[in-house]
Symmetry: C2
Amino acid sequence: MRTLPFAAVLSAVVLIGAAPPVAPPSPGEIVAKAPAAAWRVIPPEDLLILTLANGARVAIELAPDFAPVHVANIRALARAGWFDGANVVRVQDNYVVQWGGADEAKPLPPGIVTHPPAEYERSAKGLAITPLGSPDAYAPQAGFAEGWPVASDGRSAWLAHCYAMVGVGRDMPPDTGSGAELYTVIGQAPRHLDRNIALVGRIVDGIEALSALPRGTGDLGFYEKPAEHVPIRNVRVAADLPAANRPRYEVMRTDGPSFAAYLKARANRRDPFFVRPAGGVALCNVPVPTRRAP
Amino acid sequence: MRTLPFAAVLSAVVLIGAAPPVAPPSPGEIVAKAPAAAWRVIPPEDLLILTLANGARVAIELAPDFAPVHVANIRALARAGWFDGANVVRVQDNYVVQWGGADEAKPLPPGIVTHPPAEYERSAKGLAITPLGSPDAYAPQAGFAEGWPVASDGRSAWLAHCYAMVGVGRDMPPDTGSGAELYTVIGQAPRHLDRNIALVGRIVDGIEALSALPRGTGDLGFYEKPAEHVPIRNVRVAADLPAANRPRYEVMRTDGPSFAAYLKARANRRDPFFVRPAGGVALCNVPVPTRRAP
């Protein structure tokens, strides 16, 4: 399968006397034509809207099934207005953008679990994983569950550090990240962080407001001067916004035929530009499709 | 190996009565301590210096052993001043930044091979590949040769589309890319492009001048208005610069002990932050170290 040439497929079509070959659809065309049933709505309770001081908006889907304590903290922090006036403090090229955190020097609101458990993995039980179908360098199994990129060793399963995933910054002790300091991935998937840090969600819209920020020139990409900080106007749980102002997003279901066709097309590009389909694909090179709800 | 816990290593040290364990070095520490013999200098003939109109400089190492005709074209284009006043015309988030090309609407200088061969792969003969040591989703073998990330099927070998790699834009027919239109990868490795397009080098310094540019809002991330274009002051072959102004860069040799230690540390992070080394690593999550020559 790996090196099946596109030409061989064309010849087969010609041999059986079919009509002239039509270019197979690209992954984008498959997504565009997916029926309504291929999508699930992100519950407004699981959707955070981060608005920068300049008005740019970033939508984040939370993953309570993978990191429930951290996600509860983040919702509570948003509801207490804790992130309002916080800053993007770190932009490291090909790695992460980070905001909030200890640099804000403001106390956490009451009710926050300051030392949450290390929610780095969960039981694989009850989690139906659509297999990637290609080998993964980091885990015995990789695939998609409930719309998320995951890896598994059969007993446990965990979210994978793909582009746009959101995690919780922490210090050396594994239980030091409350959720007040968050980061998102803006480069090659740093999968070595999997199971070393709590992933809590992903950006589903607007990541370019973060990924195109100037890189920090300090160690690890931290901005060296407060004047470089990028201020956050506020962070809100979508459920708390008036219905008229509440953005709605959908994620493609990863257990249905549309996603199966999309995954296959990502691993075997046969749209016209391609002369050699790869016959395989990396987990983080299959971004799960998301969209504004129609 | 995959899940060998860090704790087990510590216990072993304690059991044999050694001194208190010292944290193993991080990949960065291994690179910082690598001896001079671990590095090779980039020949000035293989080094392009792209300077944006705003003065920001990007250094690109060319790969003549993999795409000799395209590389000769690019050197000739630079020497003819063809890129001077050209523009960055496309910035697609999590994908590529692209400059030059047909949009410039200026004729190619004489001597350019306008339809170069499809230099997408080369013979694996004579190419010593240091194996990655982890499975690759895209090819039977992956590793490093002459300082480059490569994949191979045993007969052929090809450069891999990792972050910062530079390739030649082309139209549908595979032989349409002269080298006047170039792109670099600024996101998750689009390895599905391997063997579908000619890679000709990589950015070794200054990629943030491109990766942090505003994303284009047109189809495929093209800038919609000429006013959004990011002008290029000039592109020079380093060999043509006066010696005093000639930047010198080095690449870590990928066939020596320093790189072996670095590769092992990238696949098994044991520096203090990490609680669970991965036991594996993806090809493009092992950036080959480069530096300004000391």
